[in-house]
Symmetry: C2
Subunit: 143 residues, 2 copies
Amino acid sequence: MDKKALFFKCVSFTTSVHRVTHELTQNAKSDSITPVQYSILEYITVSQPVTLSDISDCQHISMPNTSREVKKLSEKNLIEKISDTEDRRKQYIRLSKDGEIMMNEAFACVESRFQNRIQNASKEDLEDIERALDILQTKLFYK
Amino acid sequence: MDKKALFFKCVSFTTSVHRVTHELTQNAKSDSITPVQYSILEYITVSQPVTLSDISDCQHISMPNTSREVKKLSEKNLIEKISDTEDRRKQYIRLSKDGEIMMNEAFACVESRFQNRIQNASKEDLEDIERALDILQTKLFYK
DNA sequence: TGATTTTGTTATCAAATGATAAGTAATGGG
DNA sequence: CCCATTACTTATCATTTGATAACAAAATCA
């Protein structure tokens, strides 16, 4: 297989990933937040504590807009801002108790759908999947 | 590795896929269309000919909004609508010449970045990647 | 110390997107 | 033929998101 063919295979693959991700995550999030706010919360969940700049960089949202959305999340009591004692310009952000509860529910919903998707996989299949994830993560979807 | 750990590995993996996809595709699209319009064009490109209902279903956009966006694409001469001779309610949609040119350019841009990403991969790496893509596509990200 | 950079905020505006109601035209089933 | 359904359209409105300018405070650097 030449590199061009690999490219097309990869395009088709990423399309599948996006489709399945959508399938697993749709309606998993609370109605009280917008899609962008959810993606910010998701990022905070897996990377906390993070700064506003981290969110802005990683989610590709401008600083003013990041500030606005984070403020809204803060007003909804889903996150907490903690000032850095070293550098007082910085603010570390992490989930509040309420935020944790909300994200736990969302993740539980997604996970149950995920488990459902792999319920028919054999032990060998699961091992294959795990190996494949590792290979792609290190060789193709690396940072 | 238990299924729960596999779930988290998978979450982390899909996050990487989304990040890399964004990296490869950013600014690849023409400025004359919106992100949603681009995703519609992308879908048409790989699945043409498609009906409005197909687009609506697969892209998760309501029919009225799909109709509006497709109309805009049509006004920009990027697509063509062809009435079905069997069922005159249906319209098959495909890229116009201009639309093909635009999508070829966009895909070329994405592909060059992709090739750049795998330029240091050995022959064995590429084979590993291909196998891994196949495994995940059939065992995890299947329809 | 004074200038510059970094980190974040506020305000404002335009554009993109989502949601809904109401409608047309063609099809198909009884 | 009549009625329900399907495929799509038009119009309208609210919300979300993106972009920009102008600002403040703290840190860093020369």
